[in-house]
């Protein structure tokens, strides 16, 4: 037997680490998403769900051994008889949620984004989405929000799930939005996948007087030179990047797109059609099949052709490491975003 060439990465390919210097850098999954000292809210999803459940008997919670890591433990503690610990079994998590929805309940099913999108896909498609059942799938560790490596980094969850008919896909930015979106998706008649930031979650959009609307992309603030079109935690980054760019005389706006599917194409096309500014999509997701490609397709279909760039994760299995390091390395940090936008403006001014 002859084996083909092996292109796997092996330990020999990895350089010996340098001793750590400076502040604590950890690959722990609880690592903060925001080092800028913003105010945080603890477990906004769990508390919103508890609040909702006070008036809605139909709400039940299910998890596949990850209640503590998806903030569903808050609900489990408040409503133990409405909480289902399904064990480490994502297929029956989704199927049983579908069965409960068939009987009139509104199940919130939680796990990590990798397990929902990769492992449980067929069960979400056939038990939930094909029947348009109101199951709300809420998943922690979206995109690059852990340093544990590809087993836990859901860098392609949006690409996978955008292909599923009937499914609404939401990528909220911050604690305020998670609180509002949790209530909104409970009222939404069909199935929803929502990416979750869990634990101590920065509050960002509260100061802008933001109100989540499941159908709308919203201009957080406008700008003439650059328009960021961003979702999820990248809206935190683009808002900060816009402040930095302002100091350099660059006027950057931020259009926040929490609902990846269905996309608010009217708002996006109108905003991107304003001449003279560079459009930069920014997402905590692979460059393949996420917000950037969705926006690009929308614009081309409508004949809107601004200068267009994408900030996204590379189409690669990402390294393990400390989250701030990885966000710098893969271009999601405020520094990285700011630097790239300046370079793009220098190379290829907006037309």
């Amino acid at each position: 037997m002859t084996l083909g060439p092996n292109s796997r990465r092996t330990p020999a390919h990895i350089a010996r680490p340098k001793p750590a210097t400076g502040g604590a850098r950890t690959s722990a999954m609880i690592a903060s998403l925001d080092a800028e000292g913003r105010e945080t809210v603890t477990a906004p999803f769990g508390h919103a769900l508890v609040d909702l459940a006070r008036t809605r008997d139909d709400i039940v919670g299910l998890t596949a051994d990850l209640s503590k890591y998806t903030d569903l433990h808050v609900f489990a503690k408040a409503y133990p008889d409405r909480f289902y610990q399904m064990g480490m079994a994502e297929a029956v998590l989704m199927s049983a949620a579908a069965g409960l929805a068939r009987e009139g309940f509104t199940p919130f099913a939680t796990t990590y984004a990798v397990f929902a999108s990769r492992r449980a896909y067929d069960f979400i498609v056939m038990a939930i989405a094909e029947e348009n059942l109101p199951v709300k799938i809420v998943c922690a560790l979206p995109g690059l929000t852990t340093g544990y490596g590809p087993s836990h980094q859901a860098t392609e969850d949006l690409a996978i799930l955008r292909g599923m008919p009937n499914l609404t896909v939401i990528d909220p930015c911050c604690a305020t939005e998670i609180d509002q979106a949790t209530r909104a998706i409970a009222d939404h008649p069909g199935p929803v996948y929502m990416r979750l930031l869990r634990g101590n979650v920065p509050d960002v959009l509260g100061e802008y007087g933001y109100k989540f609307d499941i159908a709308r992309a919203q201009m957080i603030h406008d700008g003439n030179d650059v328009l960021f079109v961003s979702s999820g935690l990248m809206t935190m980054r683009t808002l900060d990047a816009a402040k930095r760019l302002k100091a350099d005389g660059i006027d950057a706006g931020v259009l926040h797109v929490p609902t990846i599917k269905p996309l608010d194409e009217d708002t996006i096309a109108a905003a991107c059609g304003k001449t003279g500014r560079l459009v930069v999509t920014a997402e905590n997701h692979s460059i393949t099949g996420g917000l950037g490609e969705a926006v690009a397709a929308c614009l081309l279909r409508r004949g809107v052709t601004p200068a267009f760039r994408q900030i996204a994760l590379p189409d690669e299995f990402l390294d393990a490491g400390a989250l701030p390091t990885l966000h710098d390395q893969y271009g999601l940090s405020v520094d990285a975003v700011t630097t790239r936008v300046k370079a793009w403006l220098a190379d290829a001014p907006a037309t």
Binding site: S95, L100, E103, M126, A127
Partner: protein, 279 residues
């Protein structure tokens, strides 16, 4: 059991289910007729002995739920739903046609009385776990019957559901396994299924029975036992069935997952069935 009309025997119901299925097979010149003929006796016991439902109100909240995990058995379930009066007989001719309510793989959105969308195998038992949990939440005493195939015993998700049903003490869940020892590529026991099957389920914590699925009295007794069993555990009835049961020349054919029936053979099969109509 409001649906047990004394002057129509379960054997007559099973005969009618086989006949409806053969007529649908004839419409398309194909279909999973081997499975339908094999499971007809179990469906007759389900719909005319065990289950509570209202033919004129398939969504009645008090109904027992019958979940068909094996989507390709739709032809068999339609045949039973027609005999039960849930579907009108005059739709037989639409089986598998454009705009029909009777697609070749069972889907809940198409057909009254079809509780779930099957077809992607290994899904039904997990959905039934959720339905059983939901019924308990509502204090609804209905049963959930989930029909699955021996081939589905190879799906890991089936075993997630098996364990979950025990964990939640789902005494309102009755799984029916059609063990005909035939899956797409050959005998199920040459793939992943093990015999005897029942001890495996017992080891997981289920109340398990194994019966000749073509012996109506035995199936009836097994359903009665499953429904009245006192312990707080889910129940399974492994029904050992014979593919193509009731049509000897098809029974003798080399048994495969998808039985080939020549165009002139449908009439012959129907004639044989008509000759053997139970009195």
């Amino acid at each position: 059991m409001p649906n047990a009309i004394p002057n129509v025997s379960l054997a007559q119901r099973a005969w009618a289910i086989r006949r409806n299925a053969l007529r649908m097979g004839e419409v398309q010149g194909q279909g999973y007729i081997g499975q339908a003929l094999g499971i007809a006796d179990v469906l007759a016991v389900s719909y005319f002995h065990a289950m509570d439902y209202r033919a004129d109100d398939p969504g009645w909240e008090g109904r027992d739920r019958f979940c068909l995990s094996i989507g390709h058995y739709a032809i068999a379930l339609y045949a039973a739903l027609i005999e039960a009066g849930i579907l009108p007989e005059d739709e037989i001719g639409t089986y598998g046609m454009d705009d029909s309510r009777l697609p070749m793989s069972g889907m809940a959105a198409y057909t009254p009385g079809m509780e779930i969308t099957g077809g992607s195998l290994g899904h039904g038992l997990g959905i039934s776990v959720g339905i059983a949990l939901g019924l308990k939440r509502k204090r609804n005493p209905a049963f959930v019957y989930n029909m699955l195939s021996d081939g589905e015993l190879g799906e890991g998700s089936t075993w997630e559901a098996v364990m979950s049903a025990v964990q939640w003490k789902l005494d309102n869940l009755i799984a029916i396994v059609d063990f005909n020892n035939q899956q797409a590529d050959g005998p199920t026991t040459h793939a992943l299924a093990q015999v005897p099957e029942a001890p495996k389920w017992e080891a997981f914590g289920w109340h398990a029975q194994s019966v000749d699925g073509n012996d109506i009295d035995a199936v009836k007794a097994a359903f009665d036992t499953a429904r009245t069993h006192a312990a707080a555990q889910p129940r399974v009835i492994i029904c050992n069935t014979k593919m193509c049961k009731g049509i000897p020349f098809l029974e003798d054919r080399e048994i495969t997952h998808f039985i080939r029936v020549e165009p002139d053979e449908w009439a012959r099969a129907l004639a044989i069935l008509d000759e053997s109509r139970p009195q």
